[in-house]
């Protein structure tokens, strides 16, 4: 690992200031379960690493009147074991419980899970790929069984986060602190497609950090679930995952949010699937139609057409669990 300077930030302001002092040469670290591996492989070689774990107050889950707030430093395991997220946030609890391994869930943070870098094997290899500042995305002509089928190009990574689709299905917001001020945006807007920025997966500027996630309390009657399909039974990223939150009223779907992992360079919200459900009964035929609609614009590569079938089948499986 290349030598670096390690600085403990004692406040959000200080963290942002330290990052701003070394533009492009400093990176924030929380648990480091992703960043340290990247540094060992010299995918990232920061000169300064700003430790966020020394900032007090960012590791709390707080219930408010009409929302819940999750600090960026909350360990993933807390989403499962704190008991603070009840059945209202079922999709998030389920998503958190299938991330990586128990050890990683114990140290890994909510913010880290949302800001983790892609697992694309070209990005993680020694090749200088598009996402690392090179000229080529090797996936479309190369080994692409795990790559994107939706929203891809010129980079074909898939977003690896499990929490992101779950939070997007709950209409969560992200709070960002930065050198030029703080802002709160819809989490869905936090992530960016490669057509916007081929080097990064989110809107964070070099002197910005994610500090908090705010989830509005779902309307009464909302049911939600997360289906993660992995090759291994554990300790694996999703081949495809589906987060679904649905509210049925008077026998018809009043509200539906469907977001997927493992299919696109961003956590992929399927407005098509949602539109196919709203106003209709949550029955087998309408669920099948929603799954069909979700994959309507899929453009598989040579080796990942199976993801289309898999996505349809687990969208059906997830929605049937809510019916």
């Amino acid at each position: 690992m290349k030598a670096f300077i390690h600085k403990n930030a004692t406040s959000v302001r200080e963290a942002v200031m330290l990052l701003g002092q070394h533009p492009g040469k400093a990176l924030p670290i929380a648990a480091g379960s992703d960043l340290l591996a990247e540094m060992k492989d010299r995918i990232e070689t920061p000169e300064v690493v700003v430790n966020l774990k020394t900032i007090p107050g960012l590791d709390k889950i707080q219930k408010r009147q009409d929302s819940i707030s999750i600090g960026a430093l909350v360990p993933i395991i807390e989403l499962v074991e704190s008991g603070l997220l009840g059945t209202n946030f079922q999709v998030l609890v389920e998503a958190a419980s299938v991330i990586a391994s128990p050890q990683i869930r114990n140290v890994g943070t909510v913010g880290g899970n949302l800001c983790q870098r892609p697992r694309c094997w070209y990005y993680r290899s020694d090749l200088q790929c598009l996402r690392k500042g090179g000229k080529t995305c090797f996936a479309p002509m190369g080994e692409n069984r795990y790559h994107a089928i939706l929203g891809a190009g010129p980079s074909y990574i898939v977003h690896p986060s499990d929490l992101a689709p779950a939070l997007i299905s709950l209409d969560a917001k992200a709070r960002i602190a930065g050198g030029s001020g703080d802002r709160t945006i819809a989490l869905e807007q936090f992530f960016v497609l490669p057509t916007t920025n081929v080097r990064r997966e989110n809107v964070l500027r070099p002197d910005e950090i994610l500090t908090e996630i705010i989830i509005p309390l779902p309307a009464p009657g909302t049911k939600s679930t997360y289906w993660k399909q992995m090759e291994r039974d554990a300790w694996d990223f999703a081949l495809v995952s589906v987060a679904a939150a649905v509210r049925v009223q008077d026998g018809k779907v009043a509200q539906a949010r469907v977001a997927m992992g493992g299919v696109a360079p961003v956590p992929w919200r399927s407005h098509e699937a949602e539109a196919a459900l709203v106003g209709k009964a949550l029955d087998e035929i309408n669920i099948a139609e929603a799954a069909q609609q979700a994959m309507k614009s899929a453009r598989p590569l040579r080796d990942n057409a199976y993801k289309v079938d898999l996505a349809k089948n687990i969208i059906k499986g997830a929605l049937q669990k809510l019916a």
Partner: protein, 732 residues
């Protein structure tokens, strides 16, 4: 069972279990010496290139860097790197991504790594071929003179396969593909070398201290007596730690140059690409059978991808196990610009058995015969092209007892008609492995207090070999196991052993231990007879003392025989000179797998597994059973997940790390029921046959057949992953 044993055929915990689980066991990486330097390797980023120049000036200027070796200043051959002697430690032409270009020794590992970044190498890139198919094309750039496809196949022919195919009622012609699977052992590579005058000591993680010693002496131009290899504990190898390696040489050369101990370290990525994995294959089978299930012909034309150098045979072994009048096997080796392929547990077997067992299930299905009945119909009565008799065989008993324990017939009925997304299926596979005997040596000391020390040149590679040798000695000397200590893993202390590969340890060195024990006992009783003025036949060695056979209670302490000033009685055997005559000594296995497949997700789960084994008398059922379970888990990984993937355009490996190849995890492994059919073998030590290699052999075929039984989808290219199931269902 014919014989009663005091110590064998039981479950005995490892002799060094406490040291291992409490972290006291010292592995190669645990050894640090004062002033030790750390070395890291610079590897080629190109799959095929000429190294035009290497500029190390910037790296040398980095504070803390002590020495840099590369093709410009180091010309040593690495004899273990290529069976045809074509490989240097640093080659002027690199032939795969990851081939060493330079090695830097520095005061710590981070400085060594930083230095690698500062070495400027100018390459002239050459055209490259990564797959067996591409490398065989006529216009492919030759990786070595003579071309990429070796013209002379390995194999043999019995009868006439064309005639046999004509006689058949049913014929099958299929092509199978298997992939490069890394051994993925837990212990990463390190090699620590230190010179003491003209002698070099190497702490290596090796499966054979004497192989390592011989290779190092040859490649360094030293007498054997000047090379010492130590490997007290090792953390797995499964065939890819058989010899001395280029990094052992790098450590030795850098240590000599710097006059400091030098440890070469690999990271996990390097471990996956810089040594070797199982050879990938392309296999064409033509098989014919009569309607009654008799196989009339088997023709295998196979191609094995050896990577950039030849490090093992590349053979394929499977067709031997079935009795057919007409058999032809031809296997060709192919060079490719990727990491080398060589030994991984039963090197030539599981990939061949996957294909053969899949093809045979297809034939059985076409005839409408139960796969179990079909196999029983074609069991071997003699062995191979020489039609040898077996020293012992219990294959049929394995099949029958395994099937009964598994519930084969009931499950076939139960799963005949299924609906819904969740489907179940069962499959079986057979396997065999050679169980040869060969020269080895051992020394046994019976100390004056009756305790015993056994010296053997084995390394315990995880099989429990130290425990095995201790149990054999305890049995041979009729003494408590607790009074036996075993010393192993140091060429300066222990006598020769052939290396822990090829399922040889128990057979070769076990015989040596028995002979050494007999010799020590003989010597003791001869001395006792002289001392006590009694007949030798009237005396025996029992529980650490000499006893009179005819007079119960009459015994003499060893000090009364050998005197207080003599340490021990020593029995030594330098060469066991085993003789077997013209018989085939083969161990066999029959495995049964049950799977659950979700048709909606392609997810395959192995839900039940029975492994029935014919390994003769089992020396230790605890470690023997563990070996079988370990082999089954490795086979599951090979069947369902593991392959090393190189980008088809750049030749860069893309998944050379644990999460990339995804070996099986504990929660994914069902209870594995192990069944030993213990038929005594007349040649092996205490009736035993080989055990270590064979457990992985039947697994892949058994699981593949179970998946097809569950889904109707036949996947002919490993691994059988969810994407292949889902795409197969599209076609179905």
């Amino acid at each position: 069972m014919a014989r009663e044993f005091q110590h064998l055929s039981k479950s005995t915990p490892r002799i060094d279990a406490l040291e291992r689980v409490t972290g006291q066991a010292r592995y190669a990486e645990d050894v640090t010496l004062p002033g030790m330097l750390y070395a890291r390797v610079l590897r080629s980023p190109h799959p095929h290139a000429r190294v035009k120049s290497i500029d190390t000036s910037a790296a040398e200027a980095l504070p803390g860097v002590r020495a840099i070796i590369h093709s410009g200043n180091t010309k040593n051959t690495w004899s273990g790197g290529d069976m045809q002697g074509r490989r240097k430690v640093f080659s002027e032409v690199v032939r795969f991504v990851g081939e060493p270009v330079a090695c830097v020794a520095a005061v710590d590992r981070h400085i060594a790594e930083d230095a690698l970044q500062l070495i400027r190498v100018e390459y002239e890139q050459l055209p490259a071929a990564f797959s067996i198919d591409d490398a065989m094309k006529p216009d492919a750039t030759p990786i070595h003179p003579g071309g990429n496809l070796e013209q002379k196949p390995m194999g043999y022919e019995i009868g006439d396969v064309e005639e046999g195919l004509k006689q058949a009622d049913v014929r099958s012609e299929q092509t199978f593909r298997t992939k490069h699977v890394n051994n993925a052992q837990l212990e990463r590579r390190v090699s620590l070398a230190n010179w003491d005058g003209g002698r070099v000591t190497i702490w290596a993680s090796t499966q054979g201290i004497y192989n390592c010693q011989k290779d190092m002496a040859t490649d360094l131009g030293l007498p054997l007596s000047k090379v010492r290899i130590i490997c007290e504990y090792m953390g797995g190898g499964f065939g890819n730690k058989n010899q001395a390696y280029d990094f052992d040489m790098m450590a030795a050369l850098l240590s000599k140059q710097t006059r400091r101990p030098v440890r070469v370290e690999f990271n996990r990525h390097e471990d996956f690409i810089a040594v070797h994995g199982r050879w990938p294959t392309l296999q064409h089978y033509r098989i014919g059978a009569k309607k009654d299930g008799t196989i009339t012909a088997m023709h295998l034309k196979g191609y094995s991808g050896m990577g950039a150098y030849l490090r093992s045979s590349g053979d394929l072994a499977s067709v031997e196990i079935y009795n057919a009048a007409n058999v032809k096997k031809e296997v060709y080796r192919v060079y490719t610009n990727v990491s080398c392929s060589a030994n991984y547990r039963a090197p030539a077997f599981p990939q061949a058995f996957f294909a053969l067992e899949s093809a045979l299930d297809e034939i059985a299905a076409e005839i409408g015969m139960d796969p179990l009945e079909f196999r029983l119909k074609n069991l071997p009565t003699t062995w191979g092209e020489k039609k040898q008799q077996f020293s012992s065989i219990a294959l049929e008993e394995c099949i029958r007892q395994g099937a009964a324990a598994f519930g084969w017939a009931e499950k076939r009925r139960q799963y005949a008609n299924q609906t819904g997304d969740i489907r179940h299926g069962i499959g079986m596979g057979l396997g065999h492995f050679g169980s040869g005997l060969g020269p080895s040596s051992a020394t046994v000391k019976i100390f004056q207090d009756g305790s015993v020390k056994v010296f053997v040149g084995v390394t315990d590679v995880g099989t429990g070999a130290k425990t095995t040798m201790g149990l054999i000695a305890a049995e041979a000397l009729e003494i408590p196991f607790e009074s036996v200590s075993v010393v192993s893993g140091d060429t300066d202390v222990c006598p020769y052993s052939p290396g822990e590969s090829g399922s040889r340890t128990t057979g070769y060195t076990g015989v040596a231990v028995i002979q050494a024990c007999e010799k020590a006992k003989q010597e003791l009783l001869d001395q006792a007879a002289a001392q006590l003025k009694m007949k030798r036949e009237d005396l025996a060695f029992s529980n650490g003392a000499v006893v009179a056979k005819g007079e119960p209670g009459k015994s003499w302490k060893l000090t009364e025989i050998i005197g207080k000033n003599v340490d021990a009685i020593i029995g030594e055997v330098a060469n066991t000179r085993p003789a077997m005559g013209n018989v085939a000594r083969v161990c066999f296995a029959a495995h049964f797998a049950e799977v659950e497949v979700n048709l909606a997700t392609g997810k395959i789960r192995v839900t039940r597994y029975v492994a029935a084994h014919d390994s003769g008398i089992v020396i230790n059922k605890l470690t023997g059973g563990s070996q079988i379970k370990g082999g089954v888990v490795q086979g599951m990984g090979m069947a369902l997940r593991e392959e090393l993937i190189w980008d088809r355009r750049t030749g860069v490996p893309v998944n050379n790390y644990y999460h990339g190849v995804k070996p099986m995890l504990h929660p994914e492994v069902p209870d594995i029921e192990v069944l030993f059919v213990e038929k005594e073998d007349p040649y092996g030590p205490f009736g035993s046959k080989a055990l270590g290699e064979v457990p992985i052999v039947p697994v892949v075929g058994a699981i593949a057949n179970a998946v097809t039984h569950a889904t109707g989808v036949r996947v002919r290219e490993l691994p059988i992953t969810p994407d292949k199931i889902l795409m197969g269902l599209r076609k179905a």
